[in-house]
């Protein structure tokens, strides 16, 4: 069967090492290894959940992810649609090639650039200064932080994310456009009735998958962009675990949280898939 290598791969590299999950339940001692480290049951989980900060972390994580989903998800789609309307091929190609570039920059670099724009001595403030207006505090401002995170993430990724949609757009039967035209549809209606439904399954699938990573919320980005003033609104589960867990080599905590996130992801995927199936779309399975 053709499926064999795939299955083997997963068995070997994902299921066999799965026993590593045990670290979540142990106080991990490197020299003793996983098996001989003392068992502490749910303690690592307790550390996470009883933390005074946990509600805040959870709230931040979910909120930022939701903002990303609501505002960030449509952007690549719209971009792909816009690009699809362009007739001048060299323009289309150029736009495509340039816009997907920021995806390749690490957040260390991109964050630095962002800071040069919004920082106290950044471009925005310089401009305001020239215009004789007050400087604005964008960098260390809790009210601005979440939108900042979402906007910069969108800018960095929209070009790259659009690639999938562009590929999907090629699969739409041109005859359907012909048929619509014959029916007298304007371009806009064509998009509504042909293009969008044409990529709807793709959208649905990507939506489910993004939903499942709702507890991720962009670790590296937030680590780079944040400062103590915005911890209250910006600290997410992952950055907290990083500071408290990994910096102390507390693998138990990190593994426990990973397990927790995995469970939530699984639940979300199943639920979302269920509902999508109900709306008649072809779902994940």
């Amino acid at each position: 069967m053709l499926l064999a290598p795939t299955i083997i791969y997963f068995v070997v590299f994902s299921y066999v090492p799965f026993y590593g999950v045990a670290i979540a339940f142990k106080k991990f001692q490197p020299f003793l290894g996983i098996w001989d480290s003392p068992w502490v049951g749910w303690q690592n989980f307790a550390t996470m959940f009883t933390s005074k900060k946990f509600p805040e972390l959870l709230a931040n994580t979910v909120l930022i992810s939701m903002y990303r989903l609501v505002f960030g998800f449509p952007v690549p789609i719209l971009f792909a649609l816009l690009l699809n309307e362009v007739r001048i091929m060299w323009f289309k190609r150029t736009v495509q090639t340039i816009t997907y570039f920021p995806h390749f920059l690490s957040w260390v670099v991109f964050g630095g650039i962002v800071f040069h724009v919004i920082g106290p001595s950044g471009i925005i403030n310089l401009l305001l200064d020239k215009l004789g207006m007050e400087a604005v505090n964008l960098a260390a401002n809790p009210d601005v932080f979440r939108p900042l995170v979402v906007i910069t993430a969108i800018l960095k990724e929209f070009g790259w994310s659009a690639i999938i949609y562009l590929a999907a757009l090629t699969g739409i039967d041109p005859h359907q456009y012909e048929a619509a035209k014959v029916d007298g549809a304007s371009r806009l209606r064509q998009i509504w009735h042909v293009t969008l439904p044409g990529i709807r399954p793709m959208i649905a699938m990507l939506f489910i998958l993004q939903l499942s990573s709702i507890l991720d919320a962009g670790f590296e980005q937030i680590l780079i962009l944040s400062n103590p003033v915005v911890y209250g609104v910006g600290d997410i589960i992952d950055t907290y675990v990083y500071r408290v867990g990994l910096l102390e080599s507390n693998y138990g905590l990190a593994t426990a949280v990973g397990l927790f996130k995995g469970v939530i992801a699984a639940v979300l995927i199943i639920t979302a898939n269920h509902y999508i199936r109900k709306t008649g779309e072809k779902s994940l399975w």
Binding site: M1, Q29, P30, F31, L32, S51, V229, N250
Partner: protein, 538 residues
């Protein structure tokens, strides 16, 4: 048909993988305690080289060596330098390098997988994980070897050996000693000060006044900047009379030399005052708005060296770079270094000494030739000392006026660049930790060097060390120390300077909550565990 065969081929491969997997599984389970012998890549026999206790053994000592590198990871085995070293020292070392940023994680993984290298770098018993490992018998006890090989023993100050000795009198760890005295200087634009008729400040109040004058002037520069509260403006923290990020005598303890009780720095009035004084400076526009916010850590240094700031607080080690860069931007600039400033009540600024070592070496308990290794180490500190420091004449140094002068990186051939040298470094004695000749070489202008040296001595007069013995742990701290700090204190402490909304009362309230949640326990446990609270000397 070809296709059928392909299918079978795939299945066959699959079966093979499965089989090896199952056998691996069998071997994996329950076999992770140190019973698996160290799997060293190509070191040859470890046990087969029992060096005789006295005299030289003809066979070279062999060991595997894992260490972090701070420089480029370009090491290749068998290079010319390495060959020379092996020949002279009668050793064969199998080196594995790991970039320092990933070092801790990877070495933990390597150890967890059961393949402990013969000699490895690690954080030492100041890291509770390694202290545990010492007790679990992972490492070699080195007491007798230290006695046998005096050069190694003398490389490290006795007070340090004492600290590293555990409750049972055992030492396992060879620290990588370094100079603990790194004063933070306050560099300033002497030419601007003269222009504005500002005398060199000697107290905090005078500094504030000076900054105000600069702000009012038409220079249009940032009065004061620094990278952060420790590595940037650390000099100012000492003027408040406490050791930053350290444990100090409690504020109300009259005996500072041998206090009854030590507490973490954020409990001290002085620390709180420091932070809010800085906050004040920011509010008045005297301290860089980007302080603690800018993303690249050397933004302050850049500002000063490109003429955008008047006073810079920075680690004294950057002196040469500051002089040369500023000279490129503005040849007429004059740089001055302030003396330690006096705070209130005559508290003098000084230096906050750091730990006397950064990481160090452990030897695996399973290693078969510890005598050989120590012989090697001894050699690097005695006959091989010159070779260790300077290397090969013509390739790594030249003779200038009868003195050895090291070649710069660009002047050396590839075989002798840092990438090839760093992996083969071990330790250098404390006596070499601060070599003024080498420092002098860094400065183009001898007068600048003299100034730096003079100020160094001034700063070194008053020390604000960490009173805490880092090898003594508190159970509570290990379990939840980081979390407690994060949950209760971090936002307030880290944000005090830059967040307008945080007041002194907030800090005190946070402290209260922290103590109640477990912080007090930590302090008590540490104080109980550490009997000797005398002020450490450096």
């Amino acid at each position: 048909m070809v296709n059928k065969r392909k299918k079978w081929g795939v299945l066959l491969v699959a079966c093979v993988m499965m089989l090896s997997l199952l056998s691996a599984c069998g071997g994996n389970n329950g076999n992770n305690s140190g019973s698996t012998p160290p799997a060293n890549s190509g070191t040859g026999e470890n046990g087969g080289n029992q060096g005789e206790g006295d005299g030289e053994s003809a066979k070279p000592v062999k060991f595997s060596y894992v260490r972090p590198v701070w420089g480029p990871a370009t090491y290749t085995k068998g290079g010319a330098y390495e060959k020379e070293l092996f020949q002279r020292a009668n050793a064969e070392i199998d080196v594995q390098i790991i970039p320092v940023t990933e070092y801790d994680q990877k070495i933990m993984t390597i150890i967890s997988s059961g393949s402990m290298p013969d000699v490895l770098w690690a954080n030492g018993p100041t890291d509770s994980k390694f202290k545990d490992m010492q007790e679990q018998g992972a490492f070699l006890r080195i007491n007798e070897y230290l006695d046998k090989y005096p050069a190694v023993k003398e490389a490290v100050p006795q007070s340090l050996w004492d600290m590293l000795t555990d409750e049972n009198g055992n030492i396992y760890f060879i620290p990588n000693v370094g100079n603990p005295i790194t004063p933070i200087f306050l560099y300033y634009r002497q030419d601007w000060f003269e222009q504005l008729n500002i005398p060199e400040p000697t107290t905090l109040a005078e500094l504030e006044a000076a900054l105000e004058t600069i702000k009012q002037s038409n220079l249009g520069v940032i009065p004061l900047t620094g990278q952060d509260t420790f590595w940037g403006l650390g000099a100012l923290s000492t003027s408040f009379g406490f050791g930053h990020f350290a444990w100090n005598p409690a504020s109300d303890d009259p005996n500072k030399e041998d206090p009854q009780k030590i507490v973490p720095w954020y409990m001290n009035e002085e620390a709180i005052d420091y932070h809010f004084w800085l906050k004040d400076l920011v509010k008045q526009g005297l301290l860089d708005k980007e302080f603690l916010i800018a993303k690249n850590w050397d933004h302050a240094k850049q500002k000063f060296t490109t003429g955008q700031a008047a006073v810079l607080g920075i680690n004294w080690g950057y002196g040469p770079e500051i002089y040369s860069t500023l000279a490129q931007t503005d040849p007429n600039a004059k740089i001055g270094i302030m003396s330690p400033l006096a705070g209130e009540n005559g508290i003098m600024g000084g230096v906050r000494p750091l730990g006397a070592f950064d990481r160090g070496m452990y030897i695996s308990a399973k290693y078969g030739d510890p005598d050989g290794f120590f012989r090697f180490l001894e050699w690097t500190l005695t006959e091989g000392s010159d070779f260790r420091k300077y290397g090969i004449e013509g390739k790594m140094y030249t003779m200038v006026d009868g003195k050895k002068k090291a070649l710069t990186e660009d002047e050396k051939e590839n075989d002798y660049k840092t990438g090839q040298l760093e992996p083969l470094r071990f330790i250098a004695p404390m006596s070499e930790a601060l070599n003024w000749d080498d420092v002098a070489q860094g400065y183009d202008d001898p007068a600048a060097f003299e100034l730096a040296r003079a100020k160094f001595e001034e700063y070194n007069r008053v020390q604000y060390p960490d009173y805490r013995n880092p090898t003594i742990f508190s159970e509570t701290e290990i379990e939840s120390g980081a979390q407690l700090y994060n949950d209760y204190l971090q936002q307030v402490v880290d944000g005090a300077v830059i967040n307008d909304n945080i007041t002194k009362q907030d800090w005190l309230d946070a402290l209260d909550a922290y103590l109640k949640a477990g912080g007090q326990k930590i302090i008590d446990e540490v104080n109980a565990g550490q009997q000797n609270k005398k002020k450490p000397q450096y």
